[in-house]
């Protein structure tokens, strides 16, 4: 495990310089210290640490199977850490997006989104506004089973918009998205950061973020 750029202190400081709108700004603070996670017998990473202040983005990089998704699951509280502390990641304060969409093919697009809005709290955009924002505004009455994988991914992202939560944990968020979708994803993350939100993103693609300042990269390497 190596911290590829910047030390821990500057990571937080750089993020603090982001312009922040005064209204409904988030004040999250995510701190991970000495984190070790084991999957079965294998130690994926040991003594990992990072810290994110409002507006901060952490990109997780590294080859397949190195533990990027597992790290996200550990921060999300799904996978138990072997040792170490994760602070500031309350389950109701974060959104997780991974390869499983949590969407039901037999429900319409609108019903799916409405369900997650009810479960996570209607604290963000309205249903129609969120669907418009991710570019599937006209498909509300269609059963989600008829959507393409790119459209499903957009619907999964709309889930983040209907319930405002400060921490986004995104696992390959641009998978199945077209070029326009990738640009859209960049805009969504930009808007989230502008409100003071934090994002931890595992990705192999380059995200199109407006402001690369405050974006840190964590390069995960195998621990044998």
């Amino acid at each position: 495990m190596t911290l590829a750029s910047g030390d821990l202190g500057s990571l937080g400081m750089a993020a603090m310089n982001q312009p922040m709108p005064v209204s409904e700004a988030f004040q999250p603070h995510l701190s991970v210290r000495g984190l070790s996670v084991r999957r079965g017998e294998r130690l994926l990473f040991a003594d990992l640490q990072f810290e994110l202040a409002p507006g901060g983005v952490l990109l997780l990089r590294g080859p397949n199977g190195v533990g990027k998704s597992t790290l996200l699951l550990a921060v999300a509280g799904i996978v138990r850490a072997d040792s170490g502390r994760i602070e500031g990641a309350e389950p109701t304060e974060l959104h997780l997006v991974n390869y499983q969409s949590g969407l039901k093919g037999r429900l319409t697009v609108r019903e799916n989104l409405k369900f997650w809005q009810a479960m996570n709290g209607a604290t963000g955009l309205g249903l129609e506004a969120a669907l418009d924002a991710v570019g599937i505004g006209g498909l509300g009455v269609l059963e989600a089973g008829y959507l393409s994988s790119g459209q499903l991914r957009r619907l999964a992202l709309a889930r983040l918009l209907v319930s405002a939560r400060p921490i986004w944990l995104l696992d390959e968020p641009s998978a199945a998205l077209d070029a326009e979708g990738e640009a859209l994803l960049g805009q969504l993350i930009d808007a989230h950061r502008a409100r003071g939100g934090i994002a931890v993103i595992a990705t192999h693609h380059d995200l199109r973020l407006a402001d690369p300042a405050g974006v840190e990269t964590l390069l995960l390497g195998g621990v044998s």
Partner: protein, 217 residues
């Protein structure tokens, strides 16, 4: 509360749209009752005497059959993971799913009991008692089922393991459920069944949520 209702509503909606599955259980329930008279032979008094037990066996087996889908679909599409971040504790999520599961699997059986009463030549009084016993006992069966389904959710072919796992636990439900219908028995069996049902229904969401947390890793 909105979230709790939304979860029940979604599960009911999904069950109605899938349609066939809930119907299969009712069909199985009725089929058992159709077959038994042929196996026992044309002895109506004997059939009447055995009827409550037959209804219980049929209900018991069809509830076991429907168990597997309680958490599996939500586990496979990732909903179960995402529900861990809902504004609702996992225990409440389980409770909502148990209620929805009861409405989808047990209620249709109760509605189908008049057909069985007719096939098994039960008296109306006997039928009423059987429905009452099922009404009290089925929540316990569903709750035990939630436990079994939660423990086996991570197993790809857990379909048959969950019923085998909870079979010994659910046998008391059956004993007191049938005992309730014995004309010579006092109210003891009824009270035991009520107590059993209340305790299991109250505790199973916690136990099942614990199992789901472990399975999520």
């Amino acid at each position: 509360m909105t979230a709790f209702r939304a979860l029940i509503g979604r599960d009911l909606k999904l069950a109605f749209r899938a349609g066939g599955e809930a119907l299969t259980l009712v069909l199985f329930f009725v089929m058992v009752a159709v077959i038994v008279p042929f196996a026992i032979g044309p002895d109506r008094p004997q059939l009447t005497r055995l009827a409550p037990a037959i209804v219980w066996i049929a209900a018991f087996l069809s509830m076991l059959l429907g168990l597997d889908r309680l958490f599996r679909n939500d586990d496979e599409d990732g909903s179960l993971t995402l529900l861990r971040h809902a504004n609702l504790p996992l225990e409440a999520v389980v409770a909502a799913k148990v209620i929805a599961h009861w409405l989808v699997t047990a209620l249709p059986l109760l509605l189908a009991t008049p057909v069985l009463a007719l096939l098994l030549s039960m008296s109306w009084a006997q039928w009423g008692q059987t429905v009452l016993a099922l009404l009290i006992g089925t929540p316990a069966l569903v709750s035990f089922g939630a436990l079994g389904a939660a423990v086996t959710v991570g197993l790809r072919r857990g379909g048959l393991i969950a019923p085998v796992l909870i079979l010994p636990l659910s046998i008391p439900v059956m004993i007191f459920g049938v005992g309730m219908l014995d004309p010579l028995a006092g109210s003891g069996a009824t009270l035991f069944l009520i107590a059993l049902s209340l305790v299991v229904t109250a505790f199973s969401p916690f136990a099942a949520a614990l199992a789901l947390r472990v399975a999520g890793e």
